[in-house]
Symmetry: C2
Subunit: 302 residues, 2 copies
């Protein structure tokens, strides 16, 4: 593996997720916080116009604009489609400030604590995730299997990197504890990269749990497409907890309980994320995979 030469730290990909936005502003005021001797650190406020109007996006979700075919499609002219092209042309392959590693800072109304979402499941990313969950056992690791070039997410601009997703926090709100914890995670990522570059990799645990995306579940809806149920109170804020077949999942507006219909236990995440109502996602079901031997050669064992 080559050295990491340039890292880009991104906030405000969604304009109403204030944690990342104010962390980027802090790093820009105090660059020494993200400076390391062996690589260059860049910051990026990804969607300033959406931040200006206090919304997730102006025209369309910027964090769904990074598919390679879309980046090369000049007929896509929304604000975010254009912004994605500029970001990729700056920090992506061949860009003026081509980065080797990206970390994209997000927040969620779901109770996901400190979550690392891996853009790609290569062994570098997995070892980094193993390190972060080793130094902070409350860190959860999530992976959605999409080949990198098909990924619509901003973190696909580099082969290496991750998204940090923290919650529960409302859109448009700062939670000081989560702000501090996110800053600490960024510091740990940068320290890990620095040690790697110097040929002195930091110690990681010998196993790692990765929650792998299985399927999204939508809210029950009526014939007009309007939701007709809410997340069941017993499931609210229970991200990463086991959801067994038959467990309560939704509560209709009329008080009817709807249970989880499946052959196997799932582990839901993004439960009741505000931005996902319009995407037709009430939660995403994952399965935990234990990866053994992380310290030698990372291999999956299902």
């Amino acid at each position: 593996m080559n050295q990491i030469k340039r890292v880009v730290i991104v906030g405000g990909t969604h304009g109403n997720e204030l944690t990342g936005i104010h962390l980027i502003k802090k790093f820009e005021r105090t660059p020494k916080l993200i400076e390391r001797s062996s690589f260059e650190s860049q910051t990026l406020l990804a969607n300033p116009k959406a931040h200006g109007i206090g919304k997730r996006y102006v025209d369309t979700d910027l964090n769904r604009c990074f598919r390679r075919q879309d980046l090369s499609n000049y007929s896509l002219s929304s604000y975010e489609a254009q912004r994605a092209k500029v970001i990729y042309q700056t920090f992506g392959t061949g860009g003026r400030l081509e980065a080797n590693f990206v970390v994209d800072l997000h927040s969620t109304t779901a109770n996901m604590g400190l979550t690392i979402i891996l853009g790609s499941k290569n062994s570098f990313n997995l070892r980094l995730a193993a390190y972060l969950s080793y130094v902070n056992p409350s860190v959860k690791v999530l992976y959605s299997p999409l080949r990198n070039e098909d990924s619509p997410y901003l973190d696909s601009i580099c082969k290496l990197g991750c998204t940090i997703e923290v919650g529960a926090v409302a859109q448009g709100v700062l939670n000081a504890r989560l702000f501090q914890q996110t800053e600490e995670l960024v510091r740990e990522v940068l320290d890990y990269l620095e040690a790697y570059n110097k040929g002195m990799p930091l110690e990681i645990g010998d196993s790692l749990i990765v929650y792998q995306y299985i399927q999204a579940i939508d809210y029950p809806r009526n014939e007009s497409g309007e939701i007709r149920a809410m997340i069941h109170p017993q499931l609210q804020f229970q991200d990463y907890e086991a959801l067994h077949p038959g467990d309560k999942m939704f509560l209709t507006f009329d008080g009817e309980e709807i249970t989880y219909c499946s052959n196997s236990t799932g582990y839901p995440v993004f439960i009741n994320e505000a931005a996902y109502y319009e995407k037709g996602i009430a939660m995403s079901i994952t399965q935990p995979l234990k990866i053994e031997g992380a310290n030698q050669e990372l291999e999956f064992r299902i």
Copy 2:
């Protein structure tokens, strides 16, 4: 006191507060839930255009558009200024569906539980509040002293009525438990009005705590007006709890703690409400007033 002849139940005054919006839709699907024998019940989705775009408002905050001088000012032409005129001309004094009582359903990202905000501190409203906190001791009662005709709030369209404010819940999110509790509060309000009309007033407690608005406190800001601190973790979600002089209040982005500077203990509410960042309000300080003899003649004793 005359009979209550018409009640208007309002939701979606803010387009991203889903509790009230989905309760109004439920009441419109199942009108018998709000029907009572002695008065007529109307529902109102106050800002449908804001709900359509998933925002608090389109042009300006509808819940600041109801000052009498603004309602008669034809040069105010924002969507919400016009909407306020239509609402007042329909349900206000002399309107086609003039209402005697209004209940306006809101939610907040602050941890305010179930709060009744009194639009006006007349003895009818106070006795209703005393009833609601008697049947559900977790109900808190809040009052901001503004003469009715100067009030910018929607609930000023009637002399009698209140705003129901529930939280903590993120904007754009439904919390099933708070949805059910809000529905229950509306039912209790209607039952109280029905019993009053029938000359068989429901039993209320003999005292009532009203949290009276003292002052708003803004976030510490830099010379450009940008916030430079967050709600301190020890204060987050501590609405209605005593905040003593010297208690931790804010945490700057650089980790400096800022304490509460005052001569007396305050009781903050609306702590970290998302919609108030732009209004320059980090929280509102209140003082609890105990009102004795609620069952006879309500009188204030400070």
